[in-house]
Symmetry: C3
Subunit: 458 residues, 3 copies
């Protein structure tokens, strides 16, 4: 009797304490027998654009550890400095812009000229003989992939005429995040009047910048400013959100943009010598076919960034793959060996078929521009373009993510002896030879004609 | 009232969502006040042998992160290519065989001769002037310990006259596994008609190979084969399971077996120079006393493999210890410093006594051939042979697992000052000296006469 | 109906199985909207002192992964050898003492002289011509910070006239701990008559030393001693606890103490050459201002230890910061980039204000001597001395923990372009310049006059 009542009271305690979200590490959370192409579940509107957030409590995201966001920054829009509790990779889907990050303890290396022979006292626009200095500012263009460690504040500015569209994937499951499995953006400036809807208990609550929580007198003393300016930092009256509209020119110090024809000329690669903590390269462009890791002119290309070509990824435990294929090209069936991946469609449509560890087809649909699909470790996936062009970016939870192909020249079938294939599938040596050697391409192959597909089979 | 009903509804949501296994990381899951020698909980029968699976939801396995399996492959049995979502170590308990693995992206280095001066068009058994080529194939014999990373497909073939018996331990808790804490074998060929009973909701469901989930037309296009052969890959009519019987000779390319007396001659050690990703050594034999790390002729030997002698273990975060002791030899009480371990008895019987962190005796029984015992980090354990020979293999969840002994020359007692011992145990300096210096052996000592033992004291 | 009853039965199973503590990794466990200065929840009394344990199930500790303890060892008190299931850092708050650790497999390097030319058979106090030998013994003084890996036994002795006070932080969340998230001290000698109250189900149960769990005959055989001495090792009649009082002199072998004026002369630094596993330095003194990393004579100093100056921390994934500031000095607002930290006040009082990721003030109180405060990753914190001196030690869950400042010369605001600040906060370039450049100090600044503070705002 006492046992029964203590069970009930524990039950109530449990339910009251955790009256909210369910646990993230249930033993069967990755038994994904049905996958979906995911759309954002929350849109955070701001004066100068919007942030679209995928629900990272959805089983597929929760199992894979990813948090996923899309930023749409309008022309003259400024995404105010924000840092995260997890390392993340950001990909520029569309548009051009400027980006700055503040790495703790590193010097301000961008300094307004003239530096020498300047006569003091002459106004320079900003004030009395004053020169600004700040940390590195970079130009962004389509295909740039940006690595940002946890705790590092970052801002974006759209200096073009079209929306600047970014997608970002953070890995909540690795050691860069030492809190629970929630993405927690911390605002240095701006706010989020809608609140963080994905956090239990904060739905109704406005999210403020860091300064709001401090007493104004403390800020005044910390910054040696007056209390009125300190209160201004707290942005109490500000409802512009986290992306604001810049009035007039946005005059930060920046190097000239080296552009060839249409801005598609690749940035120079770092030589590796200057890779100290403060000058560590954090950006790699994945849209240049001349850098391709897999390239077949008639089919498309695949380009990867991992800790070998962007060493900072060693800290973040993330890597990325950019793919671009033409109509009726197929990415041969393959699986992630040591990572989960998040596949985001940046352009076009494709038919994707995915098979789980039980041999069940768990996804069999056309995905299109703007959709997200999670590919868990060990699940086999086939992609086939169904529009003129199909382009995607795939983020992976390992700094050196590997894939293994089912078919093609470097595939598992090619590596197996004929005897294993004939005995395993009860086929003739003749057929086994075809299975092993007919497809001599790697990764990409031709796919002829339309194929029917429908809902996943269960 | 609304609060109460929302509690109830959350309760139901919780229970419906996770109506199944219990969470793996409850705070007291490692408060193991009673341990057992574990036997397999499921047997998966196949045409050419059987796979025996330990229930990794059992508290001891769940706490330590291990998944454990035993493979019994009959003569001419072929364990079809399969990969896992976690790194694992496999130990050859009995028999001889062949083993092949397919490492993604590595070349086929085993090529059928003749290579040069061959006249095309002459049939070579397999077809019209055709030569097979595949990745490395290795001979297996008793004592071989094989490291296999996650996502790497592996097959075994029994080319001897006796059953080939293997045991394998995977660590579900380290970063090689990025899914939940379930072992998920993925079949390249074959199937499992019984289903994965250890996975909630899949008990009644046949497990198929990867190909089964793809549409046959997609496989036909990927492999450039006809749809009939593609359907054959899906093995719909196949009920042979995951270990099949090979009819006729099994003619894979393989180097000659270097054998001395009875196949006990050790394989040549790699010199470390060829350790690239594709040629990285993955096998070490632990049954050769001439390699022993601890050796006393009259008592037995202990042999270890860790990341220093098998560098691939750095990736897998696993290591292993092989022990072989004679009747009445005792392994001095010791504890795992930085790992959990899974002890599997390969031969004979022993009396094992284990003490937990609270000073309670939690295991005090005789273990015998085929039983598994988990030794959690920090638990002290004593082993004493009770048959002519006692042999075991111990897998550890750290690439450089360390043990600390309670007694003996390199023990914690020897490292302590006499003053600490006399004050700690209220004994005389004379007695303390005996405690420190009487046993001058390391790890192994003589144990005279039978001792009584029974059920654990609580 | 069957579904409903199975839900109920699962519910009961769940509740019966885990009728106890709640899970540690609930998704919102780090949504800390209210923090407290924490006091110990259990006091374990012993003959020669006491151990005070903080409840590591409290949300702040559970979220950050820390277990925290304070040891008060009276003069002549000996904390008996104990090891943990997690790596830990220990800080000497008060007093002097001796410390020894036993590293598995390392030789006994402290040997009683005379070594050569000694005539055997002359009694040396301890027995017939007998010389003790044991592993390294170190002198301890205020400010010493000691790294201890999991599984390594450690003892402390107070050889001074005042209590020796130590605080220790263990990280239960990193891979050094391979069990559940409970701190599990394992006693080599001594016992804990009160039991481990923080462990579910063991509250009423005495904690014994390791020997107690083994059969006396096994100990007798392992140590080659008689059964009576073996029973003495089990300390059944001993109720002195884990800290005992030493009667008479405590004559362990130890090097002379190099002391300057008042014992404040720093120990010589290791040159890094002798850093093998057995001689690896594990202690660093943080109380010497001449080693300070940040130093302003009128304000105070900050001193850190991380894997660069104490390489063993690479294994432990921990680091520490020692701060000492004068009245009205302020530590500028800053956040932990890649770690959680545990701040323990060793002397004086300070006003601390902390702001969470939502911009809410979650802590705004005076903390004083002996209190513990958790600072989660990404939370901004400001400290201001409110007594003549304020001193603290901060343990961090990363071997190279970084902080990012909101204000000051190396702060995030200084690194941002003026345009970002003017647009982000809607202030004039003039004000933005003040925000960026008025405070030219790093980390520490002057804070004038008293400020009001109260309960956190919600």
């Amino acid at each position: 009797m006492g046992r029964a009542s203590s069970i009930v009271s524990f039950s109530l305690t449990l339910l009251i304490l955790f009256h909210g979200y369910t646990a993230q590490q249930w033993p069967n959370e990755c038994q994904l027998d049905q996958l979906n192409a995911l759309e954002p579940s929350q849109v955070i509107q701001s004066e100068g654009g919007r942030i679209e957030v995928w629900d990272h409590h959805a089983p597929q995201l929760r199992c894979s550890g990813f948090a996923f966001e899309r930023f749409v920054i309008e022309p003259q829009g400024l995404y105010l400095p924000t840092f995260m509790n997890a390392g993340k990779l950001t990909f520029v889907v569309h548009g051009t812009g400027l980006m700055g990050r503040v790495v703790p303890g590193c010097p301000e290396t961008f300094i307004e000229s003239p530096v020498f022979g300047e006569s003091q006292g002459q106004g320079q626009g900003q004030g009395q003989g004053f020169r600004d200095m700040h940390q590195k500012v970079e130009h962004l263009r389509c295909g740039d992939t940006i690595a940002t460690p946890s705790g590092v504040a970052q801002w974006f500015y759209n200096n073009g005429n079209e929306p600047l569209i970014l997608v970002a994937a953070a890995d909540l499951a690795n050691h860069e995040n030492q809190l629970d499995r929630n993405l927690r953006p911390v605002l240095i400036a701006g706010n989020n009047p809608q609140g963080q809807e994905w956090l239990q208990g904060r739905q109704q609550q406005k999210q403020n910048n860091i300064f709001t929580g401090f007493a104004p007198e403390i800020l005044a003393q910390a910054f040696k400013i007056n209390v009125e300016t300190a209160q201004q930092l707290q942005s109490h009256q500000d409802n512009r959100g986290n992306i604001v509209k810049v009035k007039g020119p946005f005059s930060v110090i920046r190097p000239p943009l080296r552009r060839g024809q249409g801005g598609q000329q690749p940035q120079e690669k770092a030589n590796g010598l200057e890779e100290t903590l403060c000058t560590m390269r954090c950006t790699e462009n994945l849209d240049d076919p001349s850098d391709a890791d897999v390239y077949t002119p008639s089919l498309g290309y695949i380009n990867t960034v991992n800790s070998y070509n962007l060493p900072i990824l060693r800290l973040l435990h993330l890597s990325a793959l950019r793919g671009s294929i033409r109509n009726n090209a197929m990415v041969l069936p393959q699986w992630n060996v040591n990572a989960n991946s998040a596949l985001y469609v940046t352009n076009g449509r494709a038919h994707i078929q995915m098979v789980n560890d039980n041999g069940d087809r768990v996804f069999d649909q056309e995905v299109s521009n703007g959709q997200l699909l999670i590919v868990p470790q060990g699940f086999s996936v086939m992609k086939r373009a169904t529009s003129e062009q199909f382009q995607w970016i795939e983020f992976k939870t390992n700094e050196n993510a590997q894939v293994n192909s089912l078919a093609g020249r470097t595939s598992v079938m090619t590596g197996l002896p004929l005897e294993v294939i004939t005995n395993g599938f009860q086929i003739s040596p003749q057929e086994a030879k075809q299975v092993k050697f007919s497809t001599m391409e790697t990764t990409l192959t031709h796919s002829s004609g339309p194929m029917s597909y429908g809902r996943p089979r269960v």
